[in-house]
Symmetry: C2
Subunit: 406 residues, 2 copies
C-alpha cells in the first residue's frame, strides 16, 4: 500500500483503473445536464430546402432596381413545395420557413412592397440572396453536431431535436453508495445524544454526487453493524454500484501503526493508497473491490468535501468520458491568511469571483476540517504550498474553480 503520496499520484493511480460506464438513451426533453456518449453527425442538410426567412415575396431576376415590378404567380402556403422555376419579372408570395421556388434571387419582406392585383412593386434595393435560407446553411450533411463527452445544454438539445434525435445516447449516471463508518454518527433526522454526531457528510456528498453527474444509490450508516454485516452489505451492492465512498473511522486507532484503510482490508479489497501529502488529506484512501473504486474520506465535513473534489470528482468525470481534472486559475487574494506551520500543500476553502480587474478569491473563515461553515459559499479551493505562507492581501494564488450546480 502506498502511503503519504502526492495528490497527482493518488489521482493517477485510480484514473488508470477507471472505465467508462455504459450508455443509455434518454428523451431529449430530459437530456439537459447529461453527457453525450457518441459523436453525433448530421444525417442531412439543415435546412433541407431553400426557405424564406421572412413573410414576403420570392423574386425572379432583375433585382436592384427600385420600383421594379413583378407579376405575382401565386401565394405559397407553408406546406407547399413549388416545383417550377421563377423567371425574370416573376414573384411568388412566401411565408417564413416556406420553401421558395428554384430561380429565386432574393426574398423581399411584404412591408417593402406594394401590391395591385397581381402586380408587385418593390420599394427597396434588394441584394441577391437577401432573406433566403440556403440549403445546409445551418449544418451540412455529415458535419459533427455534438462530440462524445459534451454536456447537453439548451443549444445542444435544440440541435438534437432539429435532427429528430429524440432518444439521445448518453452515459449512464454513475451510481454511488455512501457508507458512514463513524461509531457515533446518527442519521441526520435523529436527535444526537451527547457524544453523538448527526451525519451531515452524506447530505453534503449527495449534493456533490448530483453536481458531478452521478446518482445516489444508497446511504448506509455502519453504526451498530459488525465487520461481517458490513462485508455482507458490500457484497450485496457490488455489481450494482459504480463507486463507493466511505466516510470517517477510516484510519487505525492503534498508536505507532502505519496508516491504513481498515474497512477496505476487512472486505478483502485491494488497497491502492492511503494518506496523501496534502492538508486535509491524511485520511484519504482508495481501494478497488471487484472492479468498483472505494474511496476513504475524512469524517470531518470540510475535509470530506475537499477529498471529494480532489479525488472522487475526477473519477466520476472519467467514468462519464469527460476530462477528469478541474480548472485552475490565478486569482488575487482579498484577505490575509495567517501563517501555519505546514509540511505539506494545503487546500483552503475560498469564494472566487470575477470583476473587471480579473479574478479574486476570499479565504473563507473557520478553516478547521471539522467545521462546515467554510463550505458555505465555497466555490473554490486555494492550492497553497508551505513556501507561500503566510498569505497577505493582494497575493496572487492558484485556485481550483469548483463546478457549480447552476
Amino acid at each position: 500500500v502506498l502511503c503519504d503520496i502526492s495528490l497527482e499520484d493518488a489521482q493517477e493511480i485510480v484514473l488508470q483503473k477507471i472505465s467508462v460506464v455504459t450508455g443509455e438513451d434518454v428523451n431529449v426533453f430530459d437530456a439537459a445536464g447529461r453527457i453525450i456518449a457518441e459523436d453525433i453527425f448530421a444525417n442531412e442538410d439543415l435546412p433541407r430546402y431553400p426557405q424564406s426567412a421572412v413573410d414576403g415575396f420570392a423574386l425572379g431576376d432583375s433585382l436592384a432596381k427600385t420600383d421594379s415590378t413583378y407579376r405575382i404567380l401565386e401565394y405559397l402556403g407553408l406546406s407547399d413545395w413549388p416545383r417550377y422555376q421563377l423567371k425574370q419579372g416573376e414573384a411568388a408570395g412566401v411565408l417564413t420557413g416556406g420553401i421558395i421556388p428554384d430561380g429565386t434571387r432574393a426574398v423581399v419582406p411584404h412591408e417593402k412592397t406594394l401590391i395591385q392585383g397581381n402586380r408587385l412593386s418593390v420599394l427597396e434595393q434588394v441584394k441577391p440572396g437577401n432573406n433566403i435560407k440556403q440549403i445546409g446553411e445551418d449544418f451540412k450533411q455529415e458535419e459533427l453536431l455534438v462530440a462524445c463527452g459534451t454536456r447537453i445544454d439548451s443549444g445542444c438539445a435544440g440541435v438534437l431535436a432539429a435532427y429528430g434525435l429524440c432518444q439521445v445516447p448518453v452515459f449512464r449516471q454513475p451510481r454511488v453508495t455512501i457508507i458512514s463508518l463513524g461509531a457515533n454518527v446518527v442519521p441526520c433526522w435523529q436527535k444526537p445524544l451527547p457524544g453523538q454526531t448527526r451525519d451531515c457528510n452524506s447530505a453534503l456528498l449527495a449534493a456533490l454526487i448530483k453536481q458531478y453527474g452521478g446518482v445516489l444509490y444508497s446511504v448506509k450508516l455502519a453504526n451498530g453493524m459488525n465487520s461481517s454485516d458490513r462485508k455482507s452489505y458490500i457484497d450485496k451492492i457490488i455489481g450494482e454500484v459504480d463507486l463507493i465512498i466511505c466516510t470517517g473511522e477510516t484510519y487505525t486507532k492503534e498508536m505507532n501503526s502505519a496508516p491504513s484503510f481498515p474497512f477496505a482490508e476487512e472486505i478483502g479489497a485491494e488497497v491502492n493508497y492511503y494518506g496523501i501529502r496534502i492538508q486535509p488529506g491524511s485520511h484519504n484512501g482508495a481501494a478497488f473491490y471487484k472492479g468498483c473504486p472505494i474511496f476513504a474520506l475524512s469524517g470531518n465535513p470540510a475535509a470530506c468535501a475537499v477529498g471529494f473534489h480532489l479525488l472522487v470528482a475526477p473519477a466520476l468525470r472519467a467514468m462519464q468520458g469527460q476530462s477528469p481534472y478541474p480548472r485552475y486559475l490565478r486569482a488575487r487574494c482579498t484577505n490575509d491568511f495567517a501563517k501555519k506551520v505546514l509540511r505539506s500543500r494545503r487546500f483552503v476553502r475560498g469564494h472566487a469571483r470575477y470583476s473587471s480587474e480579473g479574478w479574486e478569491v476570499t479565504i473563507l473563515p473557520k478553516q478547521k476540517p471539522s467545521m462546515v461553515r467554510s463550505l458555505i459559499s465555497c466555490n473554490a479551493l486555494i492550492d497553497l504550498t508551505p513556501e507561500q505562507l503566510p498569505i497577505t492581501k493582494g497575493t496572487e494564488v492558484s485556485v481550483l474553480l469548483l463546478e457549480s450546480l447552476f
Copy 2:
C-alpha cells in the same frame, strides 16, 4: 398594448405582476439546486459540547512543559459524557469528536505522547486550546445559517443536515407549459414533409426551463388545432401552470397592421406588450391570463433562446424569490463582427471565457435568428448598440453571462 418598447420596460412590466410561488418540503438528500424559501437559523450551538479534534489525551493544567507527566484517569469512548473536572496533572484518553471533560486546557494527539501504565508523558509543547472544538465554534445558536433565496449547494446541504433539517423548505419549481403555434411545425420525432419543420424549440426551452429552476408541465403543438381547441387547452391547464411560453406564429400576417399577440387576444388574455426594440425581439410579447404570465417568443430557434434569457428567465427567477437579472461583465472580443445597419440594440450569441488576462468573448458564427448553430457552446449574450458596430477584434464589449447548467 405597448409596442416597440425598451427591453428594460418589457422586463419591469412583467416583474411587477409576478408573485412568488408557494413552498414545499424536499428531503435534504434531494435538495441540491433548489431554492430555500425561508431564512434558516441555528437552533443550538454547533458543536453543542466541547469536543476533541484528534484521537489523544485531554490534559488538565500545567501545559507547555515538555516531558511533563499526567495521570490517566480513564479512556473515554465516543458516546461517553464525562461529568467531572479535569485537574492539574490529570489526563483522559479521548477520541475525535468525543466530549472532553470540563477543565481541559488542551488535547494532545496520541502520536505525541508516551504511555506507561497510567502515566502519560507529553512529547511536545502544547498551547492552551489546542485540538479543542469549542462549543459553538462552527455556528452559534440563533445565527443565520442559510438565507431565503439561496440556491442549495453541497455546503448548504451539509449545514442543514448538521442541524437535523432533513425536510428542507424550498420554493416549488415553477411549472411551465410550452405551446408551439407554428402551423408547419411537427414533433421532433416525426419526419417533416417538405415545408414542415421539426419542433426544436421545445427541447431547447425544456433545457432552459430546467436550468432556471422550473419544471416542464406540458408541451403542446397547436398545429391542427383551431382557435377554440387552443382556448380549451389553456382553460384546462390554467391554475395548474405558473408560466406559459408560446413560440412562433405570434404575429399578425396582415400587411400594414400593428404588431400584436393574436394568441393572447384569442384566449382573452390581457396583453402587456408586443415587440421590443432589440434584435432579435420584434416577436417577443407578454400577456397575463388569470394571473399566469404568457410569453410570446419567436419561432426562430436563436431568437427564441435570446427571448427566453432576456424575458422569461427573469420571471422564473423572481417566482423563486431570486434576484431576477443576470450578471453583466466587460470582455474583450476575440474576433471581428461586420457592420450591420441596425436601428436597435442587438444581442449576439457568444462564448465567454476567462484567462489570466481577464474575460474574453468570441462572437459565434452563423448569427441568423433561424439558425441553431450559434447556440452551440453559447454561454453569453453580447449586448451591442448600433453605435458600437462594426466590432473589431480586441474591442471591449458588454456581456451578459448566461447561467450554465453545471
